[in-house]
Symmetry: C2
Subunit: 210 residues, 2 copies
DNA sequence: TCTATTTTATGACTACTAGTCATTTTATAT
DNA sequence: ATATAAAATGACTAGTAGTCATAAAATAGA
């Protein structure tokens, strides 16, 4: 009835409020330096209340990161719209990922922080992982584009498409992770992030060409 | 004089004892689940003593990981000995890295854990980073092999060798990191680690071919 | 409107652990 | 044997995730 529905709506709204507050705190201080007290203060609730809605600090961060993953998926899907070969679309997806990181580094950092977390700290099932990777992430789209590229005779077919797709996804994710999480490394080694990214795309796309 | 030298030797020996004990604990429980009390118990010293030799838990782990990096460097350098083109040697380096991870996953995990650590938790300078990457790691060797490959006309020269080398290093490191740190991901996605690794090497080496 | 029950929220408390430091023990110098 | 320096100790502090007994607010029913 109406009251139960309203209460459920309010519960979801409260949950969203907590996620938004957490996002603010995590984005400004990073996951490790943020405390549940910080977040409680930001959302103006007691710390105990956070644990009514989330299992743990990691669980709350994961909710924040999933929002980020959804947004990243949106911009990379949008980048594949319009004309061009599968290879070109894959290139555009990669660059859209980089641009996403450049324009919203804190958001990308939240995705990478989730990526770095130990699975047992997250207490998620194999099914959860599959959903996250195949439905919320961009692997599925990469897979489709690789299959299309094989059909277009532009992408090599001697390596199974699903292996190519996963390898692509892992390497792009990783170089973006270096750029996002280790700017100091680039400074220390006197490397240009842009050049490394371009070099990476060039070599990886060249590597899958037929 | 003799006494001062003996005391210095004993100090270094004590330091090595602590590192070995830490290695045992970190390898069996992982960095995050290990406590300084665990390590103190293993080495049969008081916790306060650990802080006479190391700045922090992360500092101690770094000492453990540096030993691992040195061993990895040794086996990958050995893999480049003997005949073959620069490309073949690069391939052998990559496979030696994978084999190292397979035969001593805890050791590789210690390297990857260091890699994932936030630089400010480690309080190391840019010079330290340069030393670690260029003198203790394998980037230097990769750089030389890429330059040799360009001379052999087997590796493309339109992308500067140092960018190729760093890109190679980052991508190999990253796929090995997935394999080392996220076995659950492979299970969840029903992927073969070996196939992903072979696919990765195939595509990346193909990508740098002239 | 009042009372009982359910739901939501609270914040003091517990448990844990990195790191510290006043004190003790051991080694060295005189 | 005594004074001093070096090495070691482990109780303690500080911080924080997570808990839970209790309170407050909302709802149901008479």
């Amino acid at each position: 009835m109406g009251i139960a529905e309203r209460k459920e709506r309010e519960k979801q709204q409260r949950r969203e409020e907590i996620i938004l507050a957490a996002e603010k705190v995590f984005f400004s201080k990073g996951f490790h330096l943020s405390t549940m007290d910080d977040i409680a203060e930001e959302v103006e609730l007691s710390k105990g209340t956070l644990y009514l809605y989330f299992k743990s600090k990691e669980d709350l961060h994961m909710a924040v990161a999933r929002t980020s993953i959804r947004l990243l998926r949106e911009v990379t899907l949008k980048a594949t719209e319009g004309g061009g070969t599968a290879l070109e679309k894959l290139g555009r997806m990669g660059r859209a990922t980089v641009e996403f990181s450049r324009t919203d580094p804190d958001r990308m950092r939240s995705i990478m922080t989730l990526e770095e977390m130990e699975p047992q700290a997250l207490s998620i099932t194999a099914g959860d992982v599959q959903d996250l990777i195949y439905k919320e992430s961009t692997v599925g789209t990469v897979m489709q584009l690789v299959e299309l590229g094989v059909k277009e005779k532009l992408i090599r077919e001697d390596v199974p498409a699903y292996l190519v797709a996963h390898t692509l996804w892992m390497t792009v994710l990783s170089v973006v992770r270096f750029v996002t999480m280790k700017p100091g490394l680039f400074e220390a080694l006197e490397l240009s992030q842009d050049q490394i990214l371009e070099s990476h795309f060039e070599l990886v796309l060249n590597g899958i060409k037929s």
